[in-house]
Subunit: 346 residues, 4 copies
């Protein structure tokens, strides 16, 4: 039985971790960390957990937690994990960090985009970027996994095969992404009030969103060189779901069948990536509550571009689900354990 | 392995049955019936099932199905199950009918409220009303189970203990119920279009809704006599969820503790009924995707009335979940098998 | 030209006042009060007003405002208006208070339900309850109008004719009301976040909501005696709209035509109250953005009860629209000036 | 008084025309055309119009209508207007066609994208493309106006100044557009059911949507040559609103101030186009119910691209509002008559 501690268990991603781990046959949660709700019953913070979770919330004591747990999930604001981690802790416990602290290899880029000082740059090289379908073997051996961002998981997986195969010019990539509101977290902010979000749509963080360098770094590895692309997130009046619509110029004439074969070569055996059939556009609702990413594409011969589309549940494959998938890899569990969830519709 | 056939598998309730049975370790679906989509791949009708269900939709052939299956779920419009069932079929296969055909013991009341002739009244007496927490022992022995309606499950479970114990006058019961739109089915009707439902709320079927006599009959059994009550359903702009707010006059002065003790006596050991803590009002979101019913109450000493509240997911405990729970009881399975779903939030 | 000042202009009701007054041909806004946003451009707080309102937000200085304005709207939390009003101010300016401070004649009831001390009980008797269709003549002469609550306007107008005519027993009235989320205000509270409200429904303030004594007082005047009733509000995932479903026992056998005639006698000439045709249930969407209240009823001969239904837009007839209607009456304007808004659908 | 007839008055755009014309001081509706609801009271089809519209729906008799009306609005499916118009009719009455029949000058492109034969190509040259801010003077003299599409109005106005001034390379334009569901019309289709749209997001018509050639033609005029671009529409769970996010490569280094000056030069005096302040992203809610288009932009020096954004209400500026604006221009009315609507928030 894997003993799991969660720091930041009362955010939406933390709570989703609880939901998933409750259904995992080889894991148990030993620590419900939440600085905001110390000593409060977890099920009073999330009433859906009534009679399912009996524990109270605890403070963020990573030292103590390292002794009690086999794995720590940090579902916390940027900077916290980097400020707590140490060699001593990593010698005792594996860490899966859902924040951005260890996602970007170049600490200067991290500090520039996140506007904070990195408190433990010495662990950046060791950390494995936890995009399971791309870095599976490295994850198995990792002590510290940087769980990818929600937008980035969707964006990278949508474009990866075509970048890797050189079918698109990576510097022409434009990713227009749309997200449900749970991605904004559970903080009580005016912008996230029901009446401000409902019946409304907007772009935000235009040309400045922090997931941009993360996508560029990972797709850059696929391209074999540094790349620059545009990424624009939008807020949509729904709870869950990310849809990425990505555009790029094709490097040569290709047929539907050729591109489909490329996607199938990369994803055909991947349980959690579904390449849809011809002309079926991904919809966020078809993956809701599950760990799937649905991807597809459409060639536009008029403009020589290809439109690539991907959809996932930002709290599952975009956060907690991928974190559990990483845990499974790190502990030699069946990769899909606890994640065999059928998407819920409607 | 229980072989299950579904007639009406492409409605919302039918699809939810598929979702639940895919997660049931001792059941497999052998027949995806759908008169509207014969020969079409099921996963093309419900793309969330892509790569999860490979089968095609089949016609509603109950004769053939009776030979292939151990249990048939009929998730069909009123009248269909009654027109298909026969002694020969019931001798081969168990039936769980999600329609109203066998819910009401008095065939005249059925025909009056549903405006159709009942085609097999000879099975009405045999049929067991499948409200698991009330009729558990009878269900275990049944060949034919009438799966309760969504509104009725919520309404009956919310009021049952106080009616049974005589703490409220059953003729003063007023149930004001609110439902998400999936309860209206997947038919392409103008009234159910997004733009007609979103940002809107209305009552419908006022004083005439067909779930009224079903609630009256069942609560009448609890009261030990015939009763008459008011039931008003409302359509709410959300996909899933029913909330019942029920009002009744108390028959005597009672304290919070007394009433709480009554609810606990009836439901304290029930896995799927959660009696919430004092002053916590049920919310539909806290049970979404799960088989739970959350109930609570508030005494109003000013008026001598009690307000009882219940919330469930209309597609799970209100339809497919309860149907699986009935199947488990009928086949000697663990009652919660396939139903240990943590509510999804947000 | 009526010079209007608004204290609390950056709440949802305050902003709706701005929207309506911008379309009023004889009124201009001279003061955009907002303690939270002093010196900030109003159109930066509400970008829908960009290029429409050039003013900055000002502090809540009622003394200064009394010199500049002909009418002051206070769209503020309970207690503020009562703490600011004085004989000197009322000698200079008319006040329309959108808070509850002057709605309830018995100060003890006010203090009991609102848990605050009333700072100017001397003006309670003078204040006129601004339910235009009931108290029109008194409003015309008033200096201080207590603008009714959103739930109360809907509830009272729905039941009023039948209480007044003695067709229902007022002590049997149960009002089950449902409201969009704008009624909860623009405060940044966790409970009002999009993800907490969307796809969710709940009752709140059960047996304790502050609009209860207000409804009881007003319907008590119609009944000619004190009454006690149940009122339960619910939060619905939509921005605007209140639907009240009210139940009461009939005092005698009545026909549809009799009851319809009673409603028509009271409301037939009222521009803003629409008695719908037989069997048409009010829907909130049909009045959205307008000052209308749609009402209708259904007799249930089985139980001897009648179900009365009413729908309005909580920010218009339930707040700012009725406030403007009151202003029009107080200043001898055409009652519907600035309020001839066609409901927006969808 | 302008006598207006509406063919297709019971679609969402037709109904919005009714809403707007009811508030127009110099127009009256003399014909509520609706083939689907002949002889039914208009207010029974749209209950928001109860007591506001007393008329019944009439058949689509353009001959008779031409004698009774000064202007005919055709809010009908593609092909209908082209099949009804004639020289005789145009000699009697002005026509504003909300369908696509006369938007595209090259009849072959129309027939290719719309898959129907054009029944009156002889009027295509005469028809004026009714984008008021661009073609104002021609509209004033027109007999036949082709009212632009909703996506196209938003897309063109968002990009127009920079194309016209040569600041962007028009062949690099990628428009990623998001629309509320009212754009899909009031037809009872499964895809537009509440439960299919709510909590969901998808692209559709990828690389094949019919608004593509319309945008290309109009921006081609601005560019002075033929252009090819990508346009991808998405369906969003909201009733109203279109948001266009457009990307293009800059042709040279430009500063924020330069680009702002270009937008201001084109739109500074336009009542219905609001160029927002620096870093304020357009939101659909800020224009809901009004005739405004909000536009803004962000330069991305990293990629040499500019992101242009525009938001409008698809039923107002994207359909009925622009149609009324066109009518005002054609009849010498004040351009904003009937359209001075403050956006409704929330």
């Amino acid at each position: 039985m894997i003993k799991a501690g969660i720091i930041g268990s009362t955010g939406y991603a933390g709570q989703e971790l609880v939901r998933l781990l409750l259904g995992h046959k080889d894991a148990e949660i030993v620590w419900y960390g939440s600085r905001s709700y110390i000593d409060k019953k977890y099920a009073e913070v999330y009433q859906n957990m009534f009679e399912l979770v009996d524990a109270k919330c605890l403070d963020d004591n990573m030292q103590e937690l390292a002794d009690k747990a086999d794995v720590i999930f940090t579902a916390t604001p940027q900077g916290l994990c980097a400020s707590l981690v140490s060699e001593e802790i990593l010698s005792k416990v594996k860490i899966i960090d859902l924040s951005a602290d260890f996602r970007i290899k170049d600490v200067k880029i991290y500090e520039e985009w996140y506007k904070i000082e990195h408190k433990s740059p010495e662990f950046i090289q060791e950390a494995v970027y936890g995009l399971c379908e791309i870095n599976r073997e490295d994850i198995k051996k990792a002590r510290l996994v940087a769980n990818p961002g929600c937008y980035t998981t969707c964006s990278i997986l949508t474009c990866y095969p075509l970048v890797k195969e050189g079918l698109i010019d990576p510097d022409t990539i434009i990713i227009d992404a749309k997200s449900g509101t749970s991605g904004a977290g559970r903080g009580a902010k005016l912008d996230n009030l029901f009446c401000e979000v409902n019946e409304n749509m907007k772009a935000y963080g235009v040309a400045t969103h922090r997931h941009t360098p993360e996508i560029e770094e990972q797709l850059g590895y696929a391209a074999g060189r540094e790349i620059r692309l545009n990424f624009t997130p939008h807020l949509v009046p729904m709870n869950r779901g990310i849809l990425a619509t990505a555009y790029a110029s094709l490097t040569r004439d290709v047929s539907y069948e050729e591109v489909k074969a490329v996607y199938d070569a990369y994803y055909g055996k991947e349980k959690f990536i579904r390449v849809l059939e011809k002309d079926v556009c991904p919809q966020t609702k078809w993956v809701e509550g599950s760990n799937y990413v649905d991807v597809n594409f459409k060639i536009d011969p008029r403009t020589g571009r290809i439109i690539m589309m991907g959809a996932l549940d930002n709290l599952v494959k975009g956060a907690a689900g991928q974190a559990v998938q990483n845990m499974n890899l790190m502990f030699g569990e069946k990769e899909s354990e606890g994640l065999e969830l059928v998407p819920m519709f409607p």
